[in-house]
C-alpha cells in the first residue's frame, strides 16, 4: 500500500506543532507519547498500521476549527477519526499527519419527538441514539454491525447502512442536517430539522465523503416510530443459487422486507457452533427475511414470502412465533463475523455490491476463485441489497497468505463491477479499494470527483491517500480555457 510520501519538513517541526496544538486544546487533549499514539495506529482494517505524527482530541467546535485552520496554515495533513471502526482504512493515520479524534463529542444535544429528529454530536455511537429514544417507541434506522461502537460522525463519513437499510435507507436517507468545519476553519451548517436541505445537495455530497471534505461536528438524525410488529423467516435451501434466486423473486414480487440476509454453508456452520440457536445444518444456504409493519400486513407478507421460497425449492421454513424467537434467528447472523473468527486465524472482510439477479452467478464464480487461490471463503451478507460481504479465510502467519487474500478480494470486487455492481456497498473506499477505483471509473470520472474535493480542500490536506488512486494538485485538474488571451487565475503556478 503506497501512501503519500511523508513531508519531512512537517515531521521535523513536530515539537512546534505539538506546542501549538496544546495551545488550542489544553489539558489531556494532545497525545504525544508513542505508547499512547499506538492506540490510534489503525482502524478496523488492521492489516495497515501507521503511527500518527500526533493525536489531538478537541472537545469544542471552535477547537476543531482552530486545529484545522492551524494545520492549513503550516501545510500539515489531518486525518479525522470517529471510533476507528472503518473496515476500509478510512482513518488510517499518516506519519506526517495530525490525527483528529472526535471521541469527546459524545453528547446527545436534543431529542425532538414532534419533529421526529435528534441532534447529536458526532462521537455518539449509532446504537446510543436508538437507546436514547426507545422508551418513547422510536429508533434510528441505519444499523451497521458495528453499531455498538461506531459513531454517527463516522456513519456520515461512510454513508453506513446495515441490515435494515433495504427498507429504511442508508445514512444519507436518515439525516436531516449537519454542522461541519472546513479545512480552512470555516464552520458551516447544512440542512436542519426540516426535510429537503436547501440549494445544492451539499449534505448529500458530504454523506459518504470519507473525511476528505470536512469534519462533521453535529448531526441531526431522523428518528422513526418502531414498527408495531416484526416477524422473521428462517429459510434453508439446497443450493446457494436457489437462495439467490429467491431473493430476487421476493423483491420482484413487490415486497420490501425490513431485512433479507443470506449465509452460506461455512457461515451457517460457524454461526451455529458459536451461538447454538438451531440453524439447519443440512442446507447450503440460509435466508433470514424480516417483515415489519402492522400485524395483518406482516402475516400476509410472511405467507407470500413462504410461498415464493417454496417455489424456489426451500427445504426448511421456520417463522418466528414471538420476539424471543425472532431475536434468536438473528443472533446467529449478528454473531457470524466473530463466529468465523473462531474457525480461521484471520479473515479479510470484503464489501461489494451487485445487481440482485446476479447473486447466484457471483457466488458460483467466487467458489471457483476460492479453489484457484487456495483460500476458503464464507459468505454472510445483505442479500436484499445485493451487498456482499465475503469473508476470505487466511493465516497471516503463513508467508504470502495475506497477499493472496488481498488479491482474491480484489478479484471479487472486479467481478462485482464486471457484473454491473460497485466496489463498495457500505464500508467505503478508504485505502482498501483505492487502487481499484480505476476498474469502476475512468480518468474523466475521477478527475471530476477530485475537482469536487478541491472545492472543499484545495491543498489536499484532509485525509489524503484515501479514495483517489492518484493524487493531483487541484490546478492540474482544470482544463485551461483561455478566452480572448485572458488567462484565468494568472497568479496560479502552471505545471
Amino acid at each position: 500500500m503506497r501512501m503519500p510520501a511523508p513531508d519531512a519538513t512537517v515531521i521535523e517541526r513536530r515539537a512546534d506543532i505539538v506546542e501549538a496544538l496544546r495551545g488550542i486544546v489544553p489539558g489531556e487533549g494532545v497525545i504525544v507519547s508513542e505508547a499512547e499514539r499506538r492506540v490510534y495506529e489503525s482502524d478496523g482494517l488492521t492489516a495497515y498500521r501507521q503511527l500518527p505524527l500526533v493525536v489531538v482530541l478537541p472537545s469544542t467546535v471552535e477547537q476543531v476549527a482552530a486545529v484545522l485552520r492551524y494545520c492549513k496554515e503550516i501545510g500539515a495533513k489531518v486525518v479525522p477519526r470517529g471510533a476507528g471502526t472503518s473496515l476500509s482504512g478510512g482513518a488510517l493515520p499518516l506519519a506526517d499527519g495530525v490525527l483528529l479524534g472526535m471521541a469527546k463529542f459524545n453528547r446527545i444535544l436534543e431529542i425532538d419527538y414532534e419533529n421526529r429528529c435528534a441532534v447529536v454530536q458526532p462521537g455518539v455511537t449509532n446504537l446510543a441514539i436508538s437507546k436514547a429514544v426507545e422508551h418513547a417507541g422510536f429508533y434510528y434506522a441505519p444499523d451497521p454491525s458495528s453499531q455498538i461502537a461506531c459513531t454517527i460522525g463516522g456513519n456520515v463519513a461512510e454513508n453506513s447502512g446495515g441490515v435494515h437499510c433495504l427498507k429504511y435507507g442508508l445514512t444519507t436517507n436518515n439525516i436531516l442536517g449537519i454542522e461541519m468545519v472546513l479545512m480552512n476553519g470555516e464552520i458551516i451548517r447544512l440542512g436542519g430539522k426540516h426535510l429537503d436541505a436547501e440549494n445544492y445537495d451539499v449534505l448529500g455530497v458530504m454523506t459518504g465523503s470519507e473525511g476528505l471534505l470536512g469534519v462533521v461536528t453535529e448531526v441531526t438524525v431522523r428518528i422513526l416510530p418502531r414498527p408495531t410488529t416484526a416477524r422473521a423467516l428462517l429459510v434453508g435451501f439446497p443450493t446457494t443459487e436457489d437462495a439467490a434466486n429467491c431473493v430476487a423473486a421476493v423483491i420482484g414480487a413487490g415486497i420490501i422486507p425490513a431485512g433479507m440476509e443470506m449465509m452460506d454453508w461455512p457461515a451457517i456452520h460457524a454461526a451455529e457452533a458459536f451461538v447454538k440457536v438451531g440453524y439447519p445444518l443440512n442446507v447450503e444456504a440460509l435466508l433470514i427475511v424480516e417483515l415489519d409493519g402492522a400485524p395483518a400486513e406482516v402475516d400476509h407478507l410472511i405467507d407470500k414470502v413462504e410461498a415464493i421460497a417454496r417455489h424456489h425449492n426451500a427445504t426448511t421454513i421456520q417463522s418466528s412465533r414471538d420476539e424471543t424467537e425472532r431475536l434468536a434467528f438473528w443472533s446467529g447472523r449478528k454473531a457470524a463475523f466473530p463466529a468465523v473468527g473462531r474457525i480461521s486465524p484471520d479473515y479479510y472482510c470484503m464489501d461489494g455490491t451487485i445487481p440482485r439477479a446476479r447473486l447466484a452467478e457471483v457466488l458460483t464464480r467466487m467458489r471457483t476463485m476460492s479453489e484457484q487461490y487456495g483460500l476458503a471463503v464464507a459468505n454472510v451478507f445483505h442479500a436484499g441489497d445485493g451487498n456482499l460481504h465475503p469473508l476470505i479465510l487466511y493465516d497471516a502467519n503463513k508467508p504470502g497468505e495475506i497477499e493472496r487474500a488481498e488479491a482474491f478480494g480484489a478479484d471479487i470486487l472486479k467481478l462485482c463491477v464486471e457484473l454491473g455492481g460497485v466496489l463498495t456497498g457500505e464500508h467505503g473506499v478508504g485505502v482498501e479499494k483505492r487502487d481499484l477505483m480505476g476498474t469502476m471509473f475512468d480518468e474523466c470520472d475521477l478527475a471530476h470527483q477530485q475537482r469536487l474535493k478541491c472545492a472543499f480542500d484545495p491543498d489536499g490536506l484532509l485525509n489524503p491517500g484515501k479514495m483517489f488512486p492518484q493524487l493531483h494538485r487541484c490546478a492540474e485538474l482544470g482544463r485551461l480555457h483561455v478566452h480572448a488571451g485572458r488567462l484565468p487565475f494568472p497568479d496560479l503556478p502552471r505545471f
Binding site: 426535510l195 429537503d196 430476487a248 423473486a249 420482484g252 414480487a253 413487490g254 440482485r356
Partner: protein, 113 residues
C-alpha cells in the same frame, strides 16, 4: 436562435461541445413547463432535450427503472403496478405531467421521503 434537439448522448455532447467552442451560452429546455416564470432568456442557442425520452430498462427485482431524461412520469407510472410498485412521483404542473429531469433538477419532493 439555433435550436438543438439531440437524440442520444453523442449528439448531446456535440451540442454542448459546440456551444463551448463558440463560447456561446446555452438555454436548456426540457418540457418547457416553467418557461413562463421570470423574464425570458434570450440566448443564441437552445438545447431541447425532449428527444431524450423513453423507458430503456426496467428490472423489478433490482428496484430500478432507467428512462431518458425527458420521459414523462405518466409514461412510467402505468408500468409499475403490475409488479406491486409505484413511483410516488406523479406530479403535474398546470395539468402537465413532469418529466424525469424536471423532478431531478427541481428536487421535487414526495410524501413518503
Amino acid at each position: 436562435m439555433s435550436r438543438f434537439a439531440p437524440a442520444d448522448l453523442d449528439e448531446l455532447r456535440d451540442a454542448i461541445g459546440e456551444a463551448l467552442a463558440m463560447d456561446e451560452p446555452l438555454e436548456v429546455l426540457a418540457g418547457g413547463s416553467k418557461r413562463g416564470l421570470g423574464p425570458p432568456l434570450q440566448l443564441p442557442r437552445m438545447l431541447d432535450s425532449s428527444r431524450l425520452a423513453g423507458i430503456r430498462d426496467y428490472q423489478p427485482s433490482e428496484l430500478v427503472l432507467t428512462a431518458g431524461a425527458a420521459t414523462p412520469i405518466e409514461e412510467i407510472d402505468p408500468r409499475l403496478p403490475r409488479h406491486g410498485r409505484c413511483s410516488l412521483l406523479s406530479r403535474q404542473i398546470w395539468g402537465r405531467s413532469l418529466a424525469c429531469h424536471q423532478l431531478l433538477l427541481a428536487g421535487v419532493p414526495w410524501a413518503a421521503r
